[in-house]
Symmetry: D2
Subunit: 308 residues, 4 copies
């Protein structure tokens, strides 16, 4: 499956595994890549906000891009958000040259008016080239840029190379409905919507018109199963699965320590060797770790994958 306006399923937001000494753990990069694929993910997104991208030196970023792309048999998207268009262009070009399927761009935090946002993405597309497929990341909670449905529609119409919306506005269900209504009425061309926010509303987003999820929850195999249940119309079953995981999904959705939870779970699942983060990092306290483990044990009553 390629990266296109028809993309569905789950794109995993990849963590970046480090060894305890802070160096990149390339073996775990491999096993993590395999894990995402084996979990049924239809794509992988690397160097996003949760991928500790700003903690990587330029050559390290390139090494990770190369490693993941060379191993993955599914599309790889590279986060290229940067303080300036020069850095964005440079990273996008490198990524595409290495075989990336596309890039992901978030608005720079200073943007306020509709015009500023529209112009920003025009500048970004001008910088990376209009032949580079990209994902528009809409994440007001962290980026403090609020993008109305009309502005998203405008950007999508202006730029045929924008294939997908990473939707993580909160609340955001009505936004999906509005965008899909615009699509239905012919006001908007086809485009894919994958949802973020750690999956916090993935029990309703597919019915609103989302094509799946792009998030890094420690159980991507559960996410793919969930999206598949919705595709089969098995609503109650989907909610049962979702509700079993929600306490952990919710716990992971804590800004700052969410990545620590995620790495802890991936380590306990045997996917990465260490839950080390590069500084600045918020690590789990022993109490927090015990809470996560308790949640895992509770999830395991319904989902054996959590019995780790």
């Amino acid at each position: 499956m390629t990266f296109s306006v028809e993309s569905k399923g789950v794109y995993a937001i990849a963590a970046t595994p480090f060894l305890d000494d802070g160096s990149i753990d390339f073996n775990s990069v491999d096993s993590l890549t395999d894990f995402y694929q084996d979990s049924g993910c239809t794509g992988i997104t690397i160097l996003g906000i949760m991928g500790e991208a700003p903690k990587l030196e330029p050559e390290e970023s390139r090494a990770i891009i190369k490693r993941v792309i060379s191993r993955a048999r599914i599309p790889v998207i590279v986060g290229v958000s940067a303080p300036g268009f020069a850095g964005m262009k440079s990273l996008a070009r490198t990524s595409m040259d290495m075989g990336a399927a596309g890039v992901m761009i978030a608005p720079t935090p200073a943007l306020r008016t509709d015009d500023q946002i529209i112009n920003y993405f025009a500048g970004a597309v001008d910088a990376i080239g209009d032949d580079v497929p990209w994902v528009l990341q809409d994440y007001p909670l962290t980026l403090s840029v609020v993008i109305s449905p009309g502005v998203i529609a405008n950007v999508i119409s202006n730029h045929p190379s924008c294939l997908m919306l990473k939707h993580e506005d909160w609340p955001g269900l009505e936004k999906i409905s509005k965008l899909r209504a615009m699509r239905k009425s012919g006001e908007l061309r086809p485009f894919s919507i994958l949802c973020g926010n750690g999956g916090m509303f993935l029990d309703f987003e597919p019915e609103r018109g989302a094509d799946g999820a792009m998030t890094g929850y420690g159980f991507p195999d559960m996410l793919t199963e969930l999206v598949s249940l919705f595709a089969q119309g098995k609503r109650d079953e989907a909610h049962d699965l979702f509700d079993a995981h929600l306490p952990l999904i919710r716990y992971e959705q804590q800004l700052g320590i969410g990545l620590a939870v995620r790495k802890h779970v991936l380590k306990r699942r045997g996917v990465i060797a260490s839950d080390a983060q590069r500084k600045p990092a918020q690590m789990l306290t022993p109490t927090a770790r015990a809470e996560v483990d308790y949640l895992l044990s509770r999830v395991a009553r319904h989902d054996k994958r959590a019995a780790v």
Copy 2:
């Protein structure tokens, strides 16, 4: 039970009921007050952010304060946050004269440095008088003021009239642990901590040192039961109850439409006559209402109170 540093249990954040024509529905004010009491709440907080306070004219605010206090047999706290100290002083004085147990104060959004925050609360206490008991509201997500544990400790130490922290930082579990460690070491005097954020982390907050919740979730009877289960050390039972409600708690915790969900649930439970809000209001779309009803039906499988 009085409002004191020993306060425990659940303080309900009261909605303000309106009739469909926008006027205050005083009959529903009464039934809502009764409902909170009958649910086992140990206090009621009125005119908070979720109480549509800014949509009330001054004489309406006074009428509501009077009505709730005259009916309630539990302590009533009045939200008195205001753009200036004059308005805060005026409302606090009126509330105390009418028999309020205390007031709640949130920091004004422009505050940034530790000194600014400490000075702001000193000014507020100076304005309302140091004999008026008050609750410090710590709510960064909405107020954009970030208060470190050290600053909270400072404010509590400076002002003996500050009896309680309304804790709704996110993530916030470690903050509770830190404040309670300072209490244990004798660095801090006794004070109560009740948690907000719609109850999203109430499955762990009591064990971290919180005394209960101050929030407006549509099932305050479930909140009081939950806090009671923790008090009895029935951890698993508490989590079972919490997990059954979490999908709805999570749905309600959507900035902007959360109040609409809450009023819809209270109406369906027969507590208020109408789910009307004054403008500006975000109402539930038919799809959203159906989602809430579906969640209610799912909660009802575990908790009969949700079978409405």
Copy 3:
């Protein structure tokens, strides 16, 4: 001269004079009102951000509105920005009943998207009534709401009762030019533009299309002279006058202590009895006061009005 889309000249942003004990100094309210009129001002704006409005109790606000309106022979505008539409409506109604020429409304700080801003002003007009003439205040630096020229045009077109823009964006010269070009092309109906920001760019704003100033600089008589010089086409003379005052204008344009400078100057000019502010207040240190006095002495070399 009435308050209309043809309004020109200088609307003084009125300070609120207090006695040293913190009570309102109504004698100084009178002398200040006279002073603004005698300085050639064509209007007075009261209870704006610099009028310490949030430090006034409701009955005090009403007393000031009454006092100024009863004494002034020029239009009086009342600032009615409030956290909610109920308070805005109440204050606007009171003001108009007392004889105000109109009201001034600033956007609430949480607004981000174009639609949110447009809807906010629609809600405000709905609340105060579409027969109440009003001024749209555009002040991003303090309010953190950025309003594009297109959105201003939209609001002006939607609401015939919006007669004037208080323009204090920074940088803002191009915004004036854009709005005036839209007016010229017939895209926009007539409306008045008065500029704020303490007069910091009043040496170029009239040529860009502004009709004058709405600001509280301690020399309103100089502002009216300046606007008049531009009206007569005496460009160099206007700049000579402006440049003589710019060091003081600039000093006054310091967020937080600007009001202290302004009151100090008004007191030294004999217009108000005391430079007292209500708390929370930033007062001038002795060093700062000496700096202002030194600047006054330097201005006095060119403008005798500053020899105080």
Copy 4:
């Protein structure tokens, strides 16, 4: 003169000259470097916010660092603020290896509490190494991080390698006074203070305790003369010179178009070949350019350097 806690005078914030085709104009880099030196500057700061650093690809940044350092006989400071410590470390190491005198670090915009700010700079020093001399940039208006005098004192005390404060808080005069009082009382060790904000308050900052300016105003020769006049105690003469330039200083201090003004002036003075900026750029409209030229002609009546 070296970069040290004793540094005085003017550090020029260097523009980055481009040719009209967008490539770096290295001849102008040379002439600009010479110009700063010949103007009496005691240092040069490159790749700051006004140096279009985010628009440069990594190899271009390195080329500019190399070029300026190899030509300058005065200390060169390199701006190394970055979204992550890895990028900061990498750029700092490169700069020092090439012969930079030190680096400049601004806080990342998300910081709020005192502890967060203090920890951020601890992390930065840990990343670049505690042997790398650095300048702390305090610029709330653009960075939205507010640093109290106590926090600055804390950072300076924690890190002996912090030699200088780039002070551009606004209002900021009292902050200088407070820090210098802490120095005088022995609470703080020696450190240099150079002021930014385009020089808007440089008529009072030296008397408050500043050692000079670090800013990019198009007349660095005037800035050095001004600082020198203050050093000689020629207060009135200093103010005469400052006041002659203030209308232009003020015009240049417009966020967004300030750089366009600066490059236009430098071009008209014959220092750089083109006023081109890389995208995204705000260019001067013909009206704005005419305004700047008019201001230059007015400055020229008092200062022949402006007769261009």
